[in-house]
Amino acid sequence: MTPAAAPSQRLAAFAAMLREHGLTVGVAEQQAMLQAALYFGPLKERPVQAAWRAIACHNLREWKLWPDVYERFWHPEKLRGGVKVSGQTRSSRNLRQSVQALHDQMNAEQGAASLPGCQALSHSAGDMPSGAPDAQDPGSPRAQGGASRTEALHQRDGQMWMPQELTALQQLARQITAKLQPRPTRRWRVAPRGQRLDLRQTLRRSVGWGGELMQPAWKLKRAEPPRLFILADVSRSMESHAALFLRVARAFALEADARVFVFHTRLAEVTPLMHRDTPVIQEKVNAVTAGFGGGTRIAASLQDFARHHARAQLNRGSRVWVFSDGFDTDAPDLLAAALKEVRAHGARITWFHPTRQVPAAAALQRARASIERFLPLASLADLAAARHVLH
């Protein structure tokens, strides 16, 4: 059965949107989604949606993200007045208009590419020059909600990163990761050059040789690398430090496989976005991290982190790094309680503050007992200094 061209294109556009949101939707997934749509027929939205969700989502983060992205694409009318997560707006979902827009975009890109020295039209609002919004065509897409089209992290004044700085940061992250002590366990694993004879395995192997111990098996003490969680405060008050925080977080996401979360009034995981570095992704991170005018709910975010996002993974070998100034709009006691909750799992908490001195925030002062150490983090030099104490 050959699918009609229109639904498959529409599905391709939806798949592209899913990819923009960090979901891994390749050709195989698209084919399966199309197959599912053909099984159920276009009028059975509920089963089609359930089937697509099972095909496109591969973890809990994506599972929870799904309803929002689905509604945004297929039922934008229901979301009128809502806040967009992305800094981009989408044009009408009318197929003819969508196809026309795609052609226009391709033509524009080709035209721009043909001009020597001229940059191709950016896909990301964040790639626009900072002065552009005032002069732009009123019909062109504008950012909505808190996501500013001119605040791509890599383009803000004073936050430009030179390639050598990025290399230095990556090296630092590598050094610090190497120093994070693996947690020894009581368990053993089979290893070719182990310390001790694995008698059970050796005897088992000897059976194949008629009882002769021809193939000894060795075992080694098993050590688990520490699980690193980074929680970066990206509220309005920390705006000037957010770029550094996210760069550092990204370095550790790549080197130490850290899970990265950002928070202001709510907590969101951005780990998948950290593994890619394109202008679109930067804009996406920017959109997620843009403060929505409220304060910083550190305690609520930490509670959400400990109870939902990392509930099953927080243990004695976990390290939780919080990048924040500690100024919380929640009641001061709540932060102490939230940190105590994280600590109860056995995780070791390090608090990185952008100031020279430990912040005087009342909430942070009350929670000092749960925090292993405070470290300043306002520049690469601070991180370099921190490598001697992080282990």
Binding site: Y39, P47, H58, N59, R204
Partner: protein, 325 residues
Amino acid sequence: MTTPDLSGRPTVEERLLRERLQRAGYLADADLATTVWLASALQRPLLLEGDAGVGKTALATALAHSHVEHGEPGATLVRLQCFEGLDLAQAAYEWNYGRQLMAIRLNEAAKDGASRVREADVFSREYLLERPLLRAISQSGPCVLLIDEIDRADEAFEAFLLEVLADYQITVPEIGTIRATHIPQVILTSNGTRELSDALRRRCLYHYLDYPTLAREIAIVKAALPEADTRLVEEAVQFVQRLRREDLAKIPGIAETLDWVRALFKLDHHSLPEDMSAVLGTLGCLLKTREDRFAMGAERLRQLVEGRRSVGVAEKDADRAQTPS
């Protein structure tokens, strides 16, 4: 290898599957039924994630039983319980060395040289011990393969599973590749204690099983314990739902709810007892750690039983309302 049968009408089949699961004692919601049906139609493994006690393993068991209910010869449930250090010999196959040696010795003892044993004779299927994975793909009839708590196995084992899950085949160097004659329905479960590899995730359909809603949990308990009073079931489930919102180290799952209602029913209660000491006495069915048990005093329990908007719950509700979507 069989090809997927897509001739039927999916929505009808999906409804039938849901009914079969219900008859087997598992109340699946519509989305889960769709996903299970789709996994079967696309012949893809299904990865179920969720907290302990939400019914991940029970789904596989019910799925196997549902085939029996359907009047088919019956689906075999093959279960592979994963643990750290699980290796190929325990999961897929192992040579029956003892039997091989015995065959060689017997052959040596034979007077006539005519029955000389060859290497190929002792490295044949006859001398292969089937472990769960090989047993599942060797079935001639319907089979449900449950790979339970895959997050407890090592990453190396995950890599081995890729061949089984993608192509439903196992390669034994001495024999060759053994392909499934009847594709088993594979259910993998994970509690999320370790991140699974992207390669494994991409080969599976995914479904996250959350704690059931109030109405669904009441229906589940009523289906499992039809003899219990409706009032008791409703009050008990409401209490458990409130309890789940508390800050507990181990959140009670559906199995715990069933245990608790069963305990209350055995104690001849027709509704939740007014006397908190009676509730406290049976609370071991729900709370499984010392800290949780210690945190739930008589007064806190009374608040939960009465459904009072207590401090913790009220705050959580308020938080949820204020959180921007």
